[in-house]
Amino acid sequence: MALERWFRRQRPTRRDDDPSPAGLWVKCPACHAQLYRKDLVANLYVCGECGHHERMPVAARIDMLADAGTFVPWSGQVRPVDALGFVDVEPYAERLAAVQEKAERPDAIVSGAAALDGQPVALAVMDFMFLGGSMGSVVGEEIARAAERAVEEERALVVVAASGGARMQEGALSLMQMAKTTVAIEQLAQRRLPYVSVLTDPTTGGVTASFATLGDVILAEPGALICFAGPRVIQQTIKQDLPAGFQRAEFLLRKGMVDDVVPRAELKARLATVIALLRSGSGG
């Protein structure tokens, strides 16, 4: 939640999912190599030179994970409301309307049914480009509904997280989404349906501290920032530089917090294997 601004500063204007990209060439933010945009897209937004994983648009993510033509959207029906009448330098309602128009979706998540290597899954993908992927009532509701429908239809659940945390413009109601998503996810566990969480860059705050880290298996993308409190907040607390790689996926793997760090090109296969293995027991 406190991180939205930090990320905005890091990458102020770039939008990978812009339908009319400004240039044919883009520069890798990690190694500064000039990349032909079409190559970058074909390479799942991974730099061909250094392997840096860029943030990926939602549509591309779904294309990458769902078997061709199998994705049927569930989300998009419920819409956010400005329950608090929140105004900062700009009213939340106006900010929301502008982002909705640009993103062509009501909020920061897309969910639906899909087949993943032939296995039935419920797939939910968060959209960091939509108000920092922040979780308000709609994101919480879509995660909860995806979990509940997965239970009804006996699907595994895959959530691809990307979020600055809880959406502060929805106040304590957004905080409560952490509990709401958790109790919904809990139903999957009781029915022994797998829930695999994929942590992508960045996953922070109230999303990390709720459904995103409750996966039966937790996979992370290379280099992804994954944390509760953001680096800037911690720096302000301790008044010294943070160790290199702190809060990155590889660091968390060493600390025992994620099951594995999986390159994007291998993610679908890994998900399919993990889900199949979890469902191969007597419980499934």
Binding site: M1, A2, E4, R5, Q77, V78, R79, P80, A83, L84, F86, V87, D88, V89, G136, S137, V138, G140, E141, A144, A166, M168, Q169, E170, G171, A172, L173, S174, L175, M176, Q177, M178, A179, K180, T182, V183, A184, I185, E186, G206, T208, A209, S210, F211, A212, T213, L214, C227, F228, A229, V233, I234, T237, I238, L242, P243, F246, Q247, K255, M257
Partner: protein, 318 residues
């Protein structure tokens, strides 16, 4: 030190005291005058505290002298025995746990403890728990389930601690796990926001069947200062952020985040700690008595339902 808006109250209190001393020393009867002044004082207190801005309430919620979690425990819990440690990393003094009795029934207590003075505040890390604190909480929730003990959670924290070790030890992971563990409790759980309910670090022990809040306590997704720093790019805008966040007891009741408000003595809990902890203890006893009648399955079901319906969304028109 009085809060800024308490200055007129303090001045009037000083005048009453002076008049009393004067009357005593000079052996004169100022009873009528003093009574009149005291009436004025009561009225001033009442009016001031009825019309507090949201930011002023944040200040009351954090006021020095406000009863801490352990002050509430002393008033509410008989035979309190503190239990230390998470069996993995250590013992976190910011989150106190233990056993005791309420109305003769055994309970597990989880209490976020701020310091009563600077020294204790440093020892308690200002009530900001590390992963160890949440692990201890989960260990005690396990005990609660095993022995059929109700859980009483006292929430008072600026938030879970944002530090290097806390991150390395999985602060986000333990908060998520604690939310999940508490949602599974097969015993009654009552949570009370007694001061500051700071974000996920508060919610980690707030997944209760009944969530109460003291009249001048606050519960928020982010502190007004941090919210101001992000949204207005200026922490000095905290008063406006507090207004926008709608974080007071009344706001939260309206949003359905809390179930009931515990009235504080006029002038705030810090002016009459004994009165405040007694009122809180009564409210917790009543909530526990209600919940004791419910079977375990129903406790789990209704608690999950309580949190499942949180939030406001616009459904598509049919």
């Amino acid at each position: 030190m009085p809060l800024p808006f308490e200055k007129p109250i303090e001045d009037l209190e000083a005048r009453v005291r002076e008049m009393r001393t004067y009357a005593e020393e000079q052996q004169v009867d100022l009873g009528e005058e003093i009574a009149l002044l005291e009436q004025r004082l009561e009225r001033l207190k009442r009016e001031t505290f009825e019309h507090l801005t949201r930011w002023q309430r944040v200040q009351v919620a954090r006021a020095p002298g406000r009863p801490t979690a352990l002050d509430h425990v002393a008033a509410l819990v008989e035979d309190f025995v503190e239990l230390h440690g998470d069996r993995t990393l250590g013992d976190d003094p910011a989150l106190v746990g233990g056993l005791g009795r309420v109305d003769g029934h055994g309970v597990v207590v989880l209490a976020q403890q701020k310091g009563r003075d600077t020294k204790e505040n440093i020892q308690r890390n200002f009530g900001m728990a590390h992963p160890s604190g949440y692990r201890k909480a989960m260990r005690l929730m396990e005990l609660a389930d095993r022995f059929g003990l109700a859980v009483v959670a006292l929430i008072d924290t600026p938030g879970a601690y944002p530090g290097v070790a806390a991150e390395e030890q999985g602060q986000a992971w333990v908060i998520a796990e604690s939310i999940r563990r508490m949602s599974r409790l097969r015993v009654p759980a009552v949570a009370v926001v007694i001061g500051e309910g700071g974000s996920g670090g508060a919610l980690a022990i707030g997944v209760a069947n009944r969530v109460l809040i003291l009249e001048h306590a606050v519960y928020s997704v982010i502190s007004p200062e941090s919210c101001a720093a992000i949204r207005w790019r200026d922490a000095a805008e905290a008063p406006r952020a507090a207004e926008a966040l709608k974080l007071t007891a009344g706001d939260l009741l309206e949003q359905g985040v809390v179930d009931a408000i515990v009235s504080e003595p006029v002038g705030g809990a810090h002016k009459d700690p004994a009165g405040a902890v007694a009122a809180t203890a009564d409210a917790v006893r009543a909530a526990l008595a209600d919940l004791r009648a419910l079977p375990p399955d129903e406790l789990v079901r209704s608690r999950a339902a309580r949190f499942r319906q949180m939030g406001r969304v616009l459904e598509p028109s049919a």
